[in-house]
């Protein structure tokens, strides 16, 4: 297992934020960000009414004249998958659902798997599972692997995103190791965070995971996707993530098939910037519908 040097990893991550993304590059980048968005609501208070807002926004984030793409997916709790399915059936927007006892992941594996199967049965295209940090930090890596592999099987045709909850793993070496375990156990995507723990996604943590993805690709030829989630709130930050993906994994990863943002407040800031680049002036936030 390669080790990670904290100082140099953070320095490298900071270098991406100093790229200057202007004019046509900015416009193309912002549209790409929208198309990579997993528009997320994961509140205890989520109702079908709230999901309706979210789904409508994901399908058409902005007035058609700006030619903004639809979001990649909406991300909801399993018991709301059926509702989301109703709204999104005719659209290209995927339904992602957090299963496996989100966000703590502390529940018997059997029950977690049942939850996953239920969500897939209800129409989830993608399952965002959490690893058990308790088991990982206790050093029982085999069990972490086995649980991911079992979830992979329970997913059937659905894509599997594995949430490492990097804020609880804390060290980059842990993040690197957890990424390796997840990829080898069958993850389609690895994902930083639940959004319930601070810090959530950061540039250096995402970089360490992208580097793990790169090594896995070198070794196997398999392209694993990446999803930073939580904590990315501005268009500027999102563009810096795109720069990081482009310069770490190359152009092949600049697609919603391999890179996603897990976010909710980010979308309207991106749209606001998009309109600004297109019209050359800022609009009031009141012109952007809330998800």
């Amino acid at each position: 297992m390669p080790s990670v040097d904290q100082v140099m990893a953070e320095e490298r991550a900071a270098a991406f934020t100093r790229r200057s993304i202007k004019t046509s590059a900015k416009l193309a980048g912002l549209k790409l960000v929208v198309s990579m968005m997993d528009l997320t609501t994961l509140e205890g208070s989520d109702t079908p009414g709230k999901i309706a807002f979210l789904c409508r926004k994901a399908m058409q984030p902005l007035d058609p004249r700006y030619q903004a793409p639809s979001c990649a997916a909406v991300c909801v709790y399993p018991n709301l998958v059926r509702i989301a399915k109703k709204f999104l059936e005719q659209s290209s927007v995927k339904i992602a659902s957090v299963a496996t006892a989100f966000p703590a992941g502390l529940m018997p594996t059997k029950l977690k798997l049942r939850e996953v199967r239920g969500a897939v049965h209800d129409g989830a295209d993608e399952i965002d599972m959490v690893i058990s940090r308790a088991i990982f930090l206790a050093g029982e890596y085999e069990r972490v692997f086995d649980e991911i592999a079992a979830t992979r099987e329970a997913c059937g045709a659905a894509h599997l995103k594995v949430i490492l909850e990097t804020g609880e793993l804390q060290t980059y070496d842990n993040v690197r190791l957890a990424s390796e375990i997840a990829m080898r156990a069958g993850a389609d995507f690895i994902k930083t965070s639940t959004g319930k723990i601070s810090p959530a996604a950061t540039m250096p943590v995402t970089l360490v995971m992208l580097e793990a993805i790169r090594d896995y690709f070198y070794e196997t030829g398999i392209r694993i996707g990446m999803k930073p989630a939580g904590g990315i709130r501005t268009a500027k930050e999102a563009l810096a993530y795109l720069v990081m993906v482009k310069e770490t994994l190359g152009d092949d990863w600049l697609t919603p098939a391999l890179f996603r943002f897990g976010a909710s407040t980010l979308l309207n800031d991106v749209l606001m910037q998009l309109v600004k680049v297109a019209d050359a002036n800022y609009q009031s936030a009141d012109y952007f519908s809330l998800p």
Partner: protein
């Protein structure tokens, strides 16, 4: 962790990924193309006021050279003429020395350290205020990227003045129990790779210690020194405390040979350094030399590889490799050699080469035609001697002097490219098997300026660095500079230290 055979569902991912991207899986190559390309992001330079002619700066005023001769300063990225620079001959140098001697005797050496410090603080603040303008000028004149002149050169220039301003009134505490006195008049000859930064490295400690200076910038990068002179005027620095004479090698030679100079400080090539040393022998002049290097950057198998690759990049491609402490000899432990090479190959294809004023440019222009010729000649020798060249495929602009980021594999210690300083973006990669071999190979050079060590094991770092014969050694990082840290070489990389408390010593006599 466990490694298992892929189960059937993993194989399914292979298929899915293959379909999703429409590319054959067997092609395990990253594609650093232009599917999402960065639009040009040029730093504005229309407000920059270049003078048509830059005169010599002697005794606080800009004066035409006695010879009446001027030479052109070229923007190496466009080959356009920026300005004409006055060419100083022996008479001009004599005037500069006279002014420096007078201000040393009458003003600067008599001034309390606290007052000298005030001037240096004021200069530092003015540099910060004009940092962006100076960075743009530095980039236009020398070809280095705006990213580096803005984020590295100028902040360090100001930091050096701030740092030594702080020492000016504390010299008696720097060397307890001893009396520290200035030397007198210092002649300071600086190179073209970091024009303002090298000026700061030389001037700040000399002035803090109470010496007066004659600065001789490099021929291809004189312009920013004159803008620094304007800052000295604005700061009210007494006339003659700093004088600037520009010109070719002969100007420097006149300075070195002038009898009324107490100290020569030179940064540049080992060849010229040796000549200066032989001229000065037997005179009263004190000497410090900061010369060439061929630094070993050593990567052990237990290193954090992805970060080490960043260290390789920072080591050799920083400032187009025009860095005396560049990590130009890379030693990779054989077990991780294929991994490191593969990553390095991918990494250099992400380096953006082009307009140095574009904020996204990583690799700027080569400083001069003659330096480009020297790089090409050494690369040819590497090819002739059978080493394998890997180069970035970045297209080179039609005008200007450019060299793509490159590295050689299959290099041995007997290759010229492993022995001679290339001073360009060209790395020589070699392998080793054991720590002992790494140390022996790293020390197998007439130079000894710097080195780098990459390992996750702390005890190994200390074991290795104590046996490397180099003045500056970085562990798990490379090319990091700070005014409080002394810098200088072993062996043919020179003697004397610049930076830190040590950097005061070459400008003082202790009694």
């Amino acid at each position: 962790m466990s490694r298992r055979k892929p189960n059937s569902s993993q194989l399914a991912i292979v298929d899915r990924n293959g379909e999703a991207n429409g590319r054959p899986i067997a092609k395990r190559r990253l594609d650093f193309g232009e599917r999402w390309s960065y639009a040009p992001a040029p730093e504005a330079n229309r407000y920059i006021k270049l003078r048509n002619r830059y005169q010599l700066f002697i005794d606080g005023r800009f004066v035409p050279p006695k010879s009446g001769d001027y030479f052109d300063s070229i923007n190496p990225a466009t080959e356009e003429k920026l300005a004409e620079i006055g060419s100083a001959n022996e008479k001009d140098v004599a005037l500069a020395v006279k002014a420096a001697r007078r201000s040393y005797k009458n003003v600067w050496s008599k001034m309390p350290g606290r007052e000298r410090g005030k001037y240096l603080f004021r200069i530092a603040r003015l540099i910060q205020e004009k940092a962006r303008e100076l960075a743009v000028l530095e980039t236009m004149d020398g070809g280095k990227t705006i990213k580096e002149s803005r984020d590295i050169d100028l902040p360090l220039v100001a930091a050096h003045f701030f740092y030594y301003a702080g020492w000016a009134d504390k010299l008696k505490y720097a060397f307890p129990g001893r009396k520290a006195r200035p030397l007198g008049v210092a002649g300071q000859i600086i190179p073209w790779n970091f024009p303002l930064l090298m000026a700061a490295w030389k001037l700040a400690p000399a002035l803090a210690c109470g010496n007066t200076c004659i600065l001789k910038p490099a021929e291809t990068t004189s312009i920013t020194a004159f803008h620094l002179a304007e800052i000295f005027q604005e700061a009210g620095l007494p006339d003659g405390v700093v004088n600037i004479v520009t010109g070719p090698g002969e100007t420097g030679s006149a300075l070195v040979n002038h009898p009324d100079i107490d100290k020569i400080a030179f940064t540049g090539s080992t060849e010229v350094g040796k000549r200066i040393a032989s001229v000065i022998v037997g005179t009263k002049k004190k000497l410090t030399l900061e010369l060439g290097g061929k630094a070993a950057n050593i990567i052990f198998e237990d290193a954090p590889i992805d970060q080490a690759v960043e260290g390789i990049i920072a080591g050799i491609y920083f400032n187009q490799g025009h860095v005396c402490c560049a990590g130009s000899r890379l030693f990779v432990q054989e077990s991780v050699f294929p991994t490191v090479i593969r990553k390095l190959r991918d990494r250099i294809s992400t380096l953006r080469l082009g307009d140095p004023l574009d904020k996204n440019t990583d690799i700027g222009a080569i400083n001069s035609r003659s330096q480009l010729d020297k790089i090409c000649e050494l690369v040819d020798s590497g090819l002739k001697q059978g080493a394998q060249l890997v180069q970035s495929r970045a297209p080179l602009p039609a005008k200007g002097y450019w060299y793509p980021p490159s590295f050689f594999t299959g290099v041995t210690a007997s290759h010229r490219i492993a022995q001679e300083e290339i001073f360009g973006p060209v790395l020589s990669v070699m392998t080793f098997r054991t720590p002992e071999e790494a140390i022996a190979r790293a020390n197998n050079t007439p130079y000894g300026l710097s080195a780098g060590v990459w390992t996750d094991k702390g005890s190994k770092i200390f074991k290795i660095v104590n046996q490397l014969r180099a003045g500056v050694i970085w562990a798990n990082t490379y090319n990091k500079f700070d005014p409080s840290s002394p810098f200088g070489g072993y062996k043919e990389s020179g003697f004397g230290r610049e930076g830190g408390r040590h950097g005061l010593l070459p400008y003082l006599t202790l009694s």
